[in-house]
Amino acid sequence: MTQPMTIDQRVDALLTRLATEQQFPTQGETIFVDLERQEVRRAWIPLRVVNALLGGRGVNMFLLHNLLDETLEPIHPHVPLIFGTGILTSMVPSASRGNVTSWSPESRVLMDSNAGDYFPSFMKLNGIDHLVLYGKAPAWTLLHFEGNEPKFVDAAPWVGLDNLDLRAKIAEDFHGVEGKDYGLAAITTAGENLVLCSGIMAGPKAIYARGGPGAKMGALNLKAVLIQGRHADLTTARPHKLRNRDVALKLLNTSVVKNALKKRGTPFLYKPSRMLGAMGTKNNQETTWTDKLDAENIDPYRPGMEGCFACPVNCRPLNDMSNDLNVRPDKYIKGDGPEYVTLGKFGPNVGITEVTQVLRLNNICNDLGLDTASSGSAISWAMELYQRGIITREQTRLDLTWGNYDAIEQLLFMTAKREGFGDVIADSSQAVANGKYPVESLDYLMAVKGLTQSDPHDARILKAFALGLAVATRGMDHLRNRVTLEINAKINDSPDFKAELYGGKVSAEPNSYDGKEIAVRRCENIYAVGDSVGMCRFTTKLFNSPSLPGYEEFADQVANVTGIELTKEAIDGIGLNVMGVERLINAKLGVTRADDTLPKRWFEEAIGVGPYKGEKIDRGEFDKMLSRFYEVSNLTEEGMPKPEWREELETVLTS
């Protein structure tokens, strides 16, 4: 039997196919770092790959496809962890994002997570487009770049620190200010302890979250990557600042930015979700919750808003509970956030009703480096198992009754340390596979492809949202393809406008299955392109508004910045290509059509309240919608790229 290639052989083989010099203005290097041997190699992504996948998430997929050895375990250090920065990151307003990609130890399918704040921008500002990390460092290491030259620094002074203390100490030790002088991606103690619901912190709140990136980085013995200074020559192919002004004006004049994101951030969505009867509550056993968590009730605790690198939107609400004498005056009395996801996951989904308790849990998760979607979901799953008597206090040593704030807070700290029952929560969706829960527990796991749901919105009503959660390549996550505007009556009641928006006829009725595959396809394409150029999802057309920057602005600025000309059709095709490569990777990991599905509960239990009482997912209708989705996505009935397209993709990936 042929032995699989080692990671060294894979890197060697890949390097022979990469370029040895810059391919276009502003392009940064792809740097391969073997942490075990402390060796560094460099190359440039060839134009044929850029033309097919652009950069950021797209090119990360090219790299993972070439370097992945699926015979290993996902946590193995020879499965690389790949950081990528969008082709426009740091150079266009609101394009401050980057992705981290690998094989997920949490879901055991593709891991791909996007974050902002400053780290991706500092990659680009220092001429690093992709950073491929592999091998286990002999001791805890901090990788320190000044420009694009890395130094392997003994991380002993920072090991054991969580996000707040770590960022303060790094600022002191490296004499700088994050965001101004350097960007930092780092793990907390949760990552050190290989907690599967831990992320990589890209700022005080920004986190590469879904799929366990913190555990992947911890498995490399890599505490942090620090990129200091601004050393790259980012002279663009053509002047781009005038068009940047158009983009900024478009952003700032869009109603959702002016009236919602800049003022309160994403917690706005809590209210419409609960009014619809679609607010995931108590692990989605119920679907509405108290109005005490409506966004306006957070107003007294919000001193201001923050933003990512050079973004004019500033959508991140800060919180400060210092004036509330009922709140414990420790380091968690103020912080950054929450987003709607956190509000939902640590409010209704665990039975919490008090704003200050949600804010405090948000601040604790930011410090402990826990993905609030995954850790909140793991806790609500445990609470339902406790409610049903599938697990008992004998096992948990904690009273996991819904809304027991003290137990939830304690459990977060125990999770980061893998102490007691925290060791079970730390295994997230893998708790059954790891023998910590009985198999029947899987009936109550709200996950797809091993990843728990990100958005707390219960999608039994909105069928396009449901389809998106089923087919998303990284698992049950709204940020890959959510047809968000499906919730809006004005758009639903304008059939011509809606058809133009999505490129085909989509039913006006949110709970209908008709045409929803067309809308999901359009959203999945544009969001994948957004991730590949580095644009924030919140400010990408179709996610929050039909008026935000989209293909036209992306294509113009890719041309101005890099000199690469792309038509609207070509850029849309790139979005499709990214999904296609992701499906090729998932196929290597054993993913099939059967995995493009939804939690059992949504097929079998109906919504019990609100205007859509009685609504659930019909298996037959869902299956037909899935087949239609495959057809409009150029996929076979098994969900794989059709042969002709697959050959084209494999030519890009392997030639």
Binding site: K258, A260, I487, N488, A489, I491
Partner: protein, 75 residues
Amino acid sequence: MITVHLPEPLRDGRAAIMTMDATSLGDVIARLDLAEDRDELFNFAVNGELVLHGEKDVMLKNGDDVEIVVAIAGG
């Protein structure tokens, strides 16, 4: 009479809470001149339940409570 709650961006000098005679949401939209000005950010809720489509044809009765809420995607 029905009660209408207007969010700040749509008030344009009007009160936050108004009362009016209306038999449908279509009437409310016309009386408040919101057909063009209201963008994709805003949805109606009647008696606490969100309306997702066919809004102009939603019939109202005396005492109904109409609220315009902000609906965006999340993160």
